[in-house]
Homo-oligomer: 336 residues x 2
Amino acid sequence: MINRQVVLVVRPHGIPQPRHFEMRSSAVPDLGLGEMMVENVVLSVDPAQRGYVNDEANYVPPVPIGAVMRGLAVGRVHATKNTEFAVGEYLYGWFGWQDYCVCRPDAVLRRVLPAQAPLLAAAGVLGINGLTACLALRQIGKPMSGETVLVTAGAGAVGSVVGQLANLAGCRAVAVVGSEEKGRQCMEEFGFADYVNHRSAWAAKLQLACPNGVDVFFDNVGGELLDSVLRQMNPFGRVVICGTVATSSWVPPPAGLRVEREILTRRLRVEGFVIFDHVSEFDSTAQELATLLNQGKLRVGYDIETELERAPQALAGLFAGQNCGKKLILLRDPQP
Amino acid sequence: MINRQVVLVVRPHGIPQPRHFEMRSSAVPDLGLGEMMVENVVLSVDPAQRGYVNDEANYVPPVPIGAVMRGLAVGRVHATKNTEFAVGEYLYGWFGWQDYCVCRPDAVLRRVLPAQAPLLAAAGVLGINGLTACLALRQIGKPMSGETVLVTAGAGAVGSVVGQLANLAGCRAVAVVGSEEKGRQCMEEFGFADYVNHRSAWAAKLQLACPNGVDVFFDNVGGELLDSVLRQMNPFGRVVICGTVATSSWVPPPAGLRVEREILTRRLRVEGFVIFDHVSEFDSTAQELATLLNQGKLRVGYDIETELERAPQALAGLFAGQNCGKKLILLRDPQP
């Protein structure tokens, strides 16, 4: 059985591009005791993957040169030599950019229940994106009814869920986006009250869109927008640091405006969130999100490609704002 | 009755200097209904007073030009036309840089109990300095036994208490100071395990002094030290933003290294602390600190002047690191 893999061949500085990867094919190895073979159905393309290939301090060591690209996917157990997972089960985990993954149960983040929601949802809104939105908003953002919640990358896989959950919590949700089209989508589909296009003169618009200041800033991008929003936060505001896509490289460390006086005088709480610290909460939170999804209270946008070899371009495109909704690479029929 | 006052006459940009103030004398006005006259005994000189005179957004509006300098003091009720406080009582509150303050009860932060501790302590370790150290360390720093607590301005009125409380909590307390003399004082008097002199090559020393990284960073200074320490924080570390004395002016906003990637990948919590949000906890916390003081578990350093007209120079000196211990202006015999 032949396995196609997207392999990291050059270590990128900054944003990974297609030239840093290569397609390779090889036979799927025989299973050892305790291992299983997962057939990937849909690959998740996530900004966090930039950090997995850069040679910079991160919460995980970087993907070695010559190794298959690290990535999350929903797959189906095709063969197994462990007792934990049965053939035919759908799983969400670290199965990488390839057709088949030979792995142990520790690669699995969550068992996917096809009856719970469509399989595509398992790779997005019930995967790290929706889970991040829900848990980071709840645990760090702590939005209260009537507050203003500002979300960068508001049309993205995380931001669009944050906006809807903030809206459901009785907050004024405001999106920061990279195009008018995404802004309209945020208002029409995701329940945002207003949006700011960061590619136009956004500073004045930001004040107009948040007339009562900002109580919760859910930031997926960082950079100058973060500098600016910190200066519009209300006292006791909460800032969720969830992503840094606005900064293309961290070597050498880029400069920005000093933040400590804003944090002090406004008594802000600024906190980083990495979803993989919260695996024990995945199943219950995914069930909450699935319920909202099935009740029609949560809308999800997908941006789907179908070719494995397009994955590197899809990743680079995230940092250029080219995707519209959750970026997925669908490798085979998602219906079980 | 003649009242000498230190009046703000020029609005400073950056650190206030003696030229921004003037001594004036006038008769103490008659008391209106509900007012009282407090005779100041000891004035507290605090870095926060810089923010009270600068024309920059802060948690309180700036002192108007021509007004007496805002400041905390311990004073004694000399006459009263309110029923809340009796003549002879000692109080801690916003009595300003002057001999006598005519005020209402809302100027009072806490009733001083002479039996609880020496009167000087009421203006420092039982005043905003010790209260800040205790409450910010407990509520934001949340130190756990075995952790490393790094404190800037470690020999100062706040930092020296933080170090001792961290030590009592079973932590490794490390001070950042501006001189070898202060460093030795931190180790010999305040229970710090080690110190870093920020006027010498401190980056390497910082790593040596914190071999297990930094779990809690109690920062009273900000600036480049903050940039550097953020890059040595352990995962899930807590950063108390308590002061910004390292930056002499915030107009125009100074630049520093971007912090969002450190906060994200290390999952830091960075939070600002302003003691005046916690007035309801003052009495119980001051009692805790008084108990430690009376048990000999808490040592306090004072740096005392006795001339009202020296107050502006004393304030400027805080930012040059000239004080050694809590800076006070003692106007009359502290013993009741």
